[in-house]
Amino acid sequence: MTHDAMIDEWYPVGLFSQLDTNARKTALMGRPIEVAVEAEGHARVTSGDGRSLPVCVRYGHVWSSLGKPQKDLFAIPEADQPGRTLVDVGVIRVRCSPLRAVENFLDIAHFPFVHTDILGAEPHTEVQDYKVEVRQDADEVWATQVKFYQPQAAKSASGGITTEYMYRVPAPTCCVLYKTCPPRPGEWDVITLFVQPLAEDLCDVWPWMALFDDATPMTDLIHFQQTIFLQDRSILENQIPRLLPLDPGMEIPTRADLTSVAYRRWLKRHNYTYGAQLVAQ
């Protein structure tokens, strides 16, 4: 097996609130692992060969790695801000590359067609120019000033509004989305996508949210997000090839896809290629 830089990254492997001493059997990058939370409340992750793997608990999830993470898990300062409702959405299994799942999350042009009448609707299909950069200090991909018309942007939104977004990719299979918050102008709702790579073409997707919304019942918040992700799954499981092509030429991006272009380049530059297809076929 070739060494992939992604081996040393942190990955979500379970929801802390749903784990107990009975080990949850799952997988990470093709290897079986077991995740448990011991009686004293410590999370423990063990590989199939009995090795104890690195562990941290953050943003509702237990995180682990098959390699040696060089740094702490990325920070989401908003997660600790008082007044936010933290939502453990749960898991959705998708038969696609973990990288394809992240790229889809970075994409707004599909809203009117895939999330019709929720996150988008014809004829409001135009994607206005936005800004994309790789922030050198933190080495993260950022897209800002992303604006899109939405019929029902969030569970707390009533009626159509133009929503502003910021996207941030702090790790190869994680994405943090900041989104205009209808009840609190000036603040951003945080919606994340944490992807657990089970194999190069299979992943468990763990969405998580930190919202300013104390009006909507938790089950409705979860249900709303699950509906959205099930719609995304019907796309993700039908893209050809299953792996994310990193060589330009295989797919045709436009200006609306600049975030995806930056993400693919960033993956390639860091040799983050688990779930990627390098040679055009």
């Binding site: 994409d107 042009a109 599909h110 009117p112 067609f113 895939v114 014809e122 299909t125 135009e126 994607v127 019907s234 796309i235 039908n238 893209q239 050809i240 090839p241 092509p245 295989m250 797919e251 045709i252 991006p253 436009t254 200006r255 609306a256 896809d257």
Partner: protein, 194 residues
Amino acid sequence: MPARTPVGPIALWRSQSGRAAASADRCPHRGMRLSHGFVRGEALSCIYHGWSYARAGNCLRIPAHPGLAPPETIRVPTHEVEECDGVIWVAVGEATAQPPRLQGVVPLRSLTAHAAVAAIEAAAGAKAGVDGFAWQPQSKLQIRLLLVPQGAEETLIHVLLDDDSSLSQRIAASRAVETLRRTAEDLETKATAP
């Protein structure tokens, strides 16, 4: 709808004016299967970002950039399609001849067998030509079968019947072909058993 051909999966669709068309089942934008798309007017639109394609394969519209005329270079490979006698024919590569005429018969049904073309031919005791083969499982029952390989192990069987067949003949034909499929699948299993 999706269909399988010897040159890979295709998206088969019918425009509003009724013309059949076939393209590769992969959107050049981000690889989504076009067979999941939707038809509007004379164009097929991809379900992911709504890019739409003409029957000739050229991209007509990119909804994210409504003011932009898509460049000629954005196109999806297409296949020639002919519709005659109730059957849609797709050419793989350059079509050198018109599809065979199948006069006096009407399509009854299509079914997939987990068996190669050879096993079905063996089960029916016939050899298929371009226009399939005629098969007479019992007297007064004249069936025409068209066989389309779906990869190495499966075959799509199109069943056609005399256009003046009675209801009971149609039911009998349907049953006969199901029996044929079972026989062919048994032959196939025996042939591949170690």
